[in-house]
């Protein structure tokens, strides 16, 4: 199987791979970011972006811009590109592309459920949802009172249904168990995606397993750090770790008993790829960890483009674009709030 996909890949995947590589060429470069970071106002950002691929999406916006508009339009572009690719895709690529959206779906479900718990307006919540993770009856989520209802009412129709098997309880929803639900769902999703990629085999399996393993490990670290000092038991914590990745299984055992950030650090430093990330941080610091992880992720995603004839590029492209939108959001917010000194704090250069 491995090594022969070059023979047949282009029959179905060639066109879309070309498309996605073309899109990748449109990602903002370090020079663009340097210029963007120098902007004095949101109009400057718009003017700079008008020379990039975002131009057509921003050109008809009336002048007093908001940072959210920029982000919204940039997301719209990503969604348009995704939809175009999905339209053109055939099996198994279309399933692969759909898998990419499940992550957004989980986030949206959690967003709506948390929002209703805090009695926010459903419409307002819907606007905040990521457009890639929308499904038909998403607004109905607001009706549900507990997990079981959530599942029976709405999610049974969505692709997320199988992931729910582990978290159906009749407990009323609260912040804690919503968070647990999110992580359980995400764990099940990652495992399922991982299995799916393994089934595809070839270069796709090889590259995607690396990317997904990184994702799983990052989540494991984040879960650990976020659950320090909460009432989550060690066993519960361990249940939230995905059952693959570099840390699986021994690292998970150690992470599960960590009580502070420095313990997490000592666990992670046993793994060479993560040693580099943690060595950049000073002791007791967890603020910059996100950025360090993002940087590492971007590096790995870019590497996915080095090889041809696999689906990993689609995943990598979506993630890179998402990172770019995060960057733009940070820059625009900094510019809008006159915090230009902090503009470099969270921007991750892609190239």
């Amino acid at each position: 199987m491995y090594g022969f996909e070059a023979l047949t890949f282009n029959i179905h995947g060639g066109y879309l791979e070309a498309i996605v590589r073309g899109h990748r060429a449109g990602l903002l470069t370090a020079a663009d970011y340097n210029n963007l970071c120098q902007c004095e106002s949101l109009d400057d950002i718009k003017m700079h972006l008008s020379a990039t691929e975002y131009g057509p999406y921003l050109q008809n916006e009336p002048s007093p811009l908001h940072a959210t508009t920029i982000v919204e339009k940039c997301t719209l572009k990503l969604v348009d590109e995704y939809k175009h690719m999905l339209c053109q895709a055939t099996e198994p690529l279309s399933t692969f592309l759909e898998y990419i959206t499940y992550g957004y779906m989980i986030d949206n479900v959690v967003l709506i459920v948390t929002g209703t718990l805090h009695e926010r307006d459903v419409q307002e919540l819907l606007e905040k949802c990521h457009p890639l993770g929308m499904f038909d009856s998403i607004a109905t989520l607001a009706v549900a009172q507990n997990m079981r209802e959530l599942y029976r009412l709405v999610l049974v129709d969505t692709p997320l249904a199988p992931y729910f098997s582990e978290c159906i309880t009749s407990e009323d929803l609260d912040d804690m168990n919503i968070e647990i639900m999110r992580n359980t769902l995400y764990k099940a999703y990652l495992e399922d995606f991982y299995k799916f990629c393994q089934k595809l085999g070839g270069a796709t399996a090889e590259i995607m397993s690396d990317l997904l393993a990184f994702e799983a490990d990052r989540r494991a670290v984040n879960i650990t750090i976020n659950s320090i000092g909460t009432e989550l038991t060690r066993d519960d914590r361990r249940k939230l770790y995905s059952s693959f990745g570099l840390l699986y299984p021994y690292g998970h055992e150690e992470l599960a008993v960590c009580e502070d950030i420095d313990q997490v650090r000592s666990v992670m430093e046993q793994y060479p790829p993560y040693q580099a990330i943690f060595s950049k941080l000073s002791y007791g610091e967890s603020q910059m960890l996100d950025k360090a992880f993002y940087e590492e992720e971007v590096k790995r995603l870019c590497l996915a483009f080095e090889q041809q004839f696999h689906f990993g590029v689609f995943f990598a492209y979506m993630r890179l674009r998402e990172q770019e939108i995060r960057n733009l959001m940070w820059i625009s917010e900094c510019v809008a709030q006159n915090q230009k000194s902090r503009v470099h704090d969270s921007v991750v250069f892609i190239f």
Partner: protein, 830 residues
């Protein structure tokens, strides 16, 4: 650099100069816009290329590269962008309302500040109108939906009631009729439940989009665990959704529930599905009243909306009249500021410095424009115009007209000529259509092409104004090329004597006739020459005879070689003119001369042999002569001898050809090396003697002189060049045989269509078959011969020019002159 020939527009590109303009800041805008009207100056982006120009950077700010929004005129550009956005908004609105912007030639003189105010006002007005209109439209749509709900739900209640009544009546009648044993004992009780105990069922009515209706029902069912009753009725016509304003197919629903919790859930679900709910009463009288009220309000709203629309239409109409001139103005303004941004600001902030390329002939016009601008803007100081010295290669600019531009495009598509090198475009004007016609020789087809292209040319004025489709635009752009092609193919068609593959005796009678009267099939029996040779072109009697093909093949093949050798020689001679023009003696003596000798001693000689054979009527085998000239040059030629002393000449030619190869290969790299060494030495001497001033100049252009001379690289390059030329001489000549092959294919195809379709259909003596035959013939002729064959002959002619002709002399590594011109900015409208 000497001039070898009088300046002619197309032979070489226009002489260019690098000019520097120093413009006082108060007249800068006007100056740039006048220059844009003139369109003969290509501005250089100084701010981006400043680093190498050390001597200038003393005067200007030292910022090597400025991003667009940090430049002087960024705010103005943003303002223009804002206007452009408003104009796009107007255009969008106009298109939606069905107005098209009028092309008004009247140039309205508007102040830009006024325009800004006006655009702002108009936009605000339009947005307000739209908002009002939307609000009205929304309530109108809501009322329409409400009315639908009233009607449908009313129907439902009505039918439900009548069914219930009927059932009751039936039940009652059965009970009164006969007391059956089957009658459930509790039925009585069931029917007469105390109304006070009855749970009051609540209900909701509304509309839900049809595509969501199934999911809606499912979710309702799940959420209430089946404790609801849902009734849906299809609304036949799509309804305009009040929220989105789009036409959606919808269902009216009616849902019964019990309990407050269920109501709460249903309300949430309705909200989630975008189902609009409307109040509804059970009371029949109130229903009728409601319907009446709604209808009255509907008609009221309708008139209001109509008035609003009319008002909006008037506003848009007013905008439409001005739109084009505003649009033009804004676009000019924007490109002016973009250009101004490329200039650099002097440290005193009093003037702008521009650099750019302009043709030498335009100096006067540019100075005029500068002066006018200075006067018109009441500036106290005029702009300064000065020519700079530079080593940078200038852009290539040909002054073409509508006839020559298409031919120049053909050449440019391969590569833009190096500055002032010989332009193959001139020769292309004749050779291109000629080579095409050699392959497309049929005067019938030629006339068809001519008529088609004349149609374009006659309607040129009209067509050039409007937007055409992709393919039409391409053919329209090349109309003069096609005109030439068709004229030439009529000419070659007359020579080939083919009119849709039918020969005609246009220039007198055929020279051949039957031996005697008895021969019936003149094409197969032998013919004798009875008259003088047919005066022009091919004798019609050849057509259809057994020896037609061998005769034509031999003719066309030899003709192809003659044409090819002639064109390749032209290419080599052009390389001589290039060498002379650029003062490159090495290229004359060690490239042009051996190349000329090599090509002509082999294929030039072949051409001479062909001509001799044609004139003398000799039967010598030219293949044999050519092949044995190499294999055994000393052998006797025997019966293949065409003229006396042929063997000696062949030996000399062979010797020359063999000598020419090392001549091409060896001396040039060594001479270049020596030249470089001399130059290097000379420089080290002059450094001491020369003054500081020239030192600076030298240092500016250091990058040009300090190119490392790699002898091995140059030698390998020359080796490749030589091999390419030697092999190319053979393969290029062979390549010209495509002229013969395509011409053969064309004439064979057209004779197949004529004989196997038209004549066959004619033979049946049946009108229907004849008509079908004619239709098939016309389609085949147009589709295959006029379109496909034209394309293929065009492509082959293109190849012969790009590869076989241009590789002899053409460098094609220049870049095009892109003047800043409003005429061009107008064209790139989206």
């Amino acid at each position: 650099m000497g001039r070898c020939c009088p300046p002619m527009d197309l032979f070489r590109s226009e002489p260019m100069q690098l000019v520097q303009l120093i413009i006082p800041i108060e007249s800068s805008h006007l100056t740039v816009s006048y220059l844009g009207d003139l369109g003969l100056l290509q501005f250089k982006d100084i701010l981006q290329f400043m680093a190498p120009n050390i001597s200038y950077s003393i005067f200007f700010q030292l910022n090597a590269e400025k991003s667009p929004f940090q430049r002087t005129y960024a705010t103005q550009i943003k303002r223009c962008g804002e206007w452009a956005r408003k104009l796009r908004f107007f255009k969008d609105q106009m298109l939606k309302a069905g107005f098209s912007p009028k092309v008004s030639k009247t140039q309205v003189d508007i102040n830009l500040d006024d325009l800004e105010v006006k655009l702002g006002e108009l936009e605000a007005e339009l947005i307000e109108m739209n908002a009002n209109g939307e609000k009205l439209q929304r309530s109108y749509n809501e009322l329409v939906e409400y009315k639908l709900v009233l009607l449908k739900a009313g129907d439902f209640f009505h039918s439900a009631q009548s069914i219930a009544l009927e059932q009751q009546r039936e039940y009652g009648s059965r009970r009164t009729g006969e007391e059956s044993l089957d009658t459930p004992l509790l039925a009585d009780q069931e029917m007469s439940i105390d109304p006070s105990k009855q749970v009051k069922l609540g209900f909701l009515t509304g509309l839900v989009p049809r595509e969501k209706s199934m999911a809606f029902e499912r979710i309702l069912f799940r959420a209430t665990r089946g404790n609801i009753f849902l009734k849906q009725a299809v609304v036949e016509d799509p309804v305009v959704d009040p929220v989105s304003g789009e036409k959606v197919e919808k269902n009216v629903f009616l849902v019964f529930y019990s309990g407050e919790r269920a109501k709460y859930k249903i309300l949430k679900i309705c909200e989630a599905f975008g189902a609009n709910r409307y109040p509804f009463t059970e009371d029949l009288g109130k229903q009728v009243q409601a319907i009446n009220e709604v209808s009255a309000r509907l008609s009221e709203l309708k008139t209001t909306i109509d008035v609003g629309l009319l008002h909006r239409g008037n506003l848009l109409q007013a905008i439409a009249e001005q739109f084009e001139s505003w649009n033009l103005l804004v676009r000019k303004e924007k490109s002016t500021y973009h250009t101004l941004n490329m200039l650099s600001l002097d440290v005193t902030k009093k003037c702008l410095v521009a650099e750019g390329w302009s043709p030498v002939f335009a100096s006067k016009q540019i100075q005029d424009a500068l002066q006018r601008a200075a006067v018109d803007s009441n500036s106290q100081v005029g702009a300064i115009f000065q020519v700079l010295d530079t080593r940078e290669p200038p852009p290539t600019y040909f002054r073409t007209n509508k006839f020559t531009s298409a031919f120049q495009e053909i050449v440019d598509a391969y590569g833009v000529a190096k500055y002032q090198e010989a332009n193959p475009g001139v020769y292309t004007i004749v050779t291109f259509p000629f080579l095409f016609a050699v392959m497309f020789g049929d005067w019938g087809h030629g006339i068809c092409l001519l008529l088609a292209t004349l149609f374009y040319i006659v309607r040129e004025k009209k067509l050039s104004g409007q937007k055409l489709g992709d393919i039409t635009e391409m053919t329209f752009g090349g109309r003069y090329v096609i005109l030439m092609m068709s004229v030439f193919s009529i000419y070659t068609g007359l020579i080939y004597n083919e009119f849709f593959s039918v020969p005609f005796e246009l220039f007198g009678r055929s020279a051949y006739a039957c031996r005697d009267i008895s021969c019936r099939d003149a094409t197969t029996e032998g013919l004798v020459k009875v008259r003088h040779t047919y005066p022009f072109g091919l004798d019609p009697k050849w057509h259809g005879s057994r020896s037609e093909l061998p005769f034509l093949n031999s003719l066309k093949m030899k003709m192809s070689i003659l044409i090819g050798v002639a064109q390749m020689n032209l290419g080599i001679i052009l390389s001589y003119f290039n060498a002379v023009y650029f003062g490159n003696n090495i290229n004359i003596w060690f490239q042009f001369l051996p190349q000329l000798i090599f090509l002509n001693s082999l294929f030039g000689y072949l051409s001479v042999l062909i001509l001799v054979k044609w004139c003398s009527g000799s039967q010598a085998d030219l293949y044999h002569v050519m092949i044995y000239m190499f294999l055994s040059p000393t052998d006797d030629l025997g019966e293949n001898q065409l003229f006396a002393g042929q063997k000696t000449i062949q030996l000399v030619l062979l010797f020359l050809a063999l000598v020419a190869v090392p001549w091409m290969l060896l001396p040039k790299p060594f001479l270049l090396k020596k030249q470089y060494e001399n130059l290097h030495q000379g420089q080290s001497y002059t450094l001491i003697e020369e003054t500081e001033e020239s030192l600076q100049v030298e240092s500016n252009h250091d990058s040009h002189n300090h190119e490392e001379f790699e002898f091995s690289e140059v030698f390998v390059h020359q080796l490749i060049h030589t091999i390419e030329f030697v092999l190319g001489a053979v393969s290029n000549t062979a390549s010209y045989l495509r002229l013969w092959a395509l011409s053969l294919a064309h004439s064979e195809l057209s004779s197949v269509f004529y004989e196997k379709v038209l004549l066959l259909a004619w033979g049946y003596n049946n009108v229907i078959i004849l008509i079908v035959g004619i239709i098939v013939f016309i389609f085949a002729t147009v589709g295959v011969l006029l379109v496909m064959e034209t394309l293929s002959a065009f492509l082959h002619a293109l190849r012969l020019h790009w590869v076989e002709f241009q590789n002899k002399f053409y460098e094609g590594d220049g870049y095009k002159f892109h003047p800043f011109s409003f005429a061009i900015t107008d064209d790139d409208d989206d």
